[in-house]
Subunit: 209 residues, 2 copies
């Protein structure tokens, strides 16, 4: 484990946001930026931004700021986005299809290699240009093909079993869209997108406004 | 603004997770629980859980714990889930369809009433049992029908304009799936699902493990 893993979780969660902002600025043809300008766009304070970037040895120069491309390259490296990742999507419903399509379109370093489902109507077909394979082969497929990340878009009641098989196959990470908390994943990083929790936090703010 | 809005953001974000766990326990036929048991299932410490629930006047009794149904009802009330919400989905691609389908299936208190798109191939059709309307009528539709929440699943470059029109129409909240940060939404609560940021945080942990 490198020393960079000692960086606080909260800092890590902010890095993709910095990266996205820098990508937008680069697309606008900008070359340099400052913590004040980043603050304006992102909403964090300038001092927070300087502190976050200092963590990773990215120092802006007084009166000169940050070179956008260099900073972008550095954050890309820190986030591990210089590497390529092999993904499989488990659950070939509307959500699985949407996530496969999204990832193929917007995230070129993530290579989705197959989808899996239990339905015999779907197995053997091609969805988003990907073969739909039988769910029972997940573990074997992950082992043989060196899959890095399993994306779970299957219903909640199947998620734990799928995750266990992904782990035994040797994935390094799970991107979980099932509305349940997966347990026993030591050594595998689980990143959850809980749509339901997000919607229910939104109603809190609406109801209490 | 009620006094409940003074509760820290971090506490609010944990409530949907408590609710989900209580729903699972109720489905398993359980009637009572303790902070220790909740801690086991959720992963937060028991003392954290007691502290969070105390905020809202939910006190467990020593040696007796919490009545699951009562606690669930109370968290439902706090989160504003006793109310019904009218939603529209803007962007009728794979993601829009998946989110509409998800919400219709799993979240009965959220009533999706229409979808919107700019494509003349889609306008006038029915998707997930919902009419697809012309994007240019968003503001008027929101006003006339008292829409509470706009769900943006359109591409990032259109998101700000869509959000501006939703706000002028009078929505109370925006559930944003576009990979961009929406600005100028004073009085409207924006809840983001940034798929790209989530995937990029996952690779950090994989790359630095």
């Amino acid at each position: 484990m490198s020393k960079e893993t000692k960086i606080a979780n909260a800092v890590i969660r902010r890095l993709p946001r910095y990266l996205r902002t820098l990508e937008e600025m680069e697309a606008e043809g900008l070359e340099r930026t400052s913590s004040a300008e980043l603050s304006e766009r992102i909403g964090f304070t300038a001092s927070q931004i300087r502190q976050d970037l200092n963590h990773f040895g990215c120092f802006g120069q007084q009166g000169y700021g940050y070179a956008i491309t260099d900073l972008k390259t550095e954050i890309n490296r820190i986030l591990g986005l210089k590497n390529k990742y092999k993904l499989i999507v488990i659950g070939c419903g509307r959500l699985g299809e949407a996530i496969a399509n999204y990832t193929k379109t917007f995230e070129p370093q993530f290579d989705i290699v197959a989808m899996f489902d239990t339905s015999h109507d779907k197995i053997g077909s091609v969805v988003c240009g990907l073969p739909v394979l039988d769910d029972k082969w997940i573990e074997e497929y992950v082992k043989k093909n060196g899959v890095d990340i399993g994306v779970i878009t299957a219903p909640a009641e199947f998620a734990q079993d799928i995750a266990d098989r992904l782990k035994r196959g040797g994935v390094k990470g799970i991107w979980n869209f099932a509305v349940t908390d997966i347990k026993g994943m030591e050594g595998v990083k689980v990143e959850n997108i809980h749509l339901s929790d997000s919607l229910r936090a939104l109603t809190y703010y609406i109801a209490n406004d």
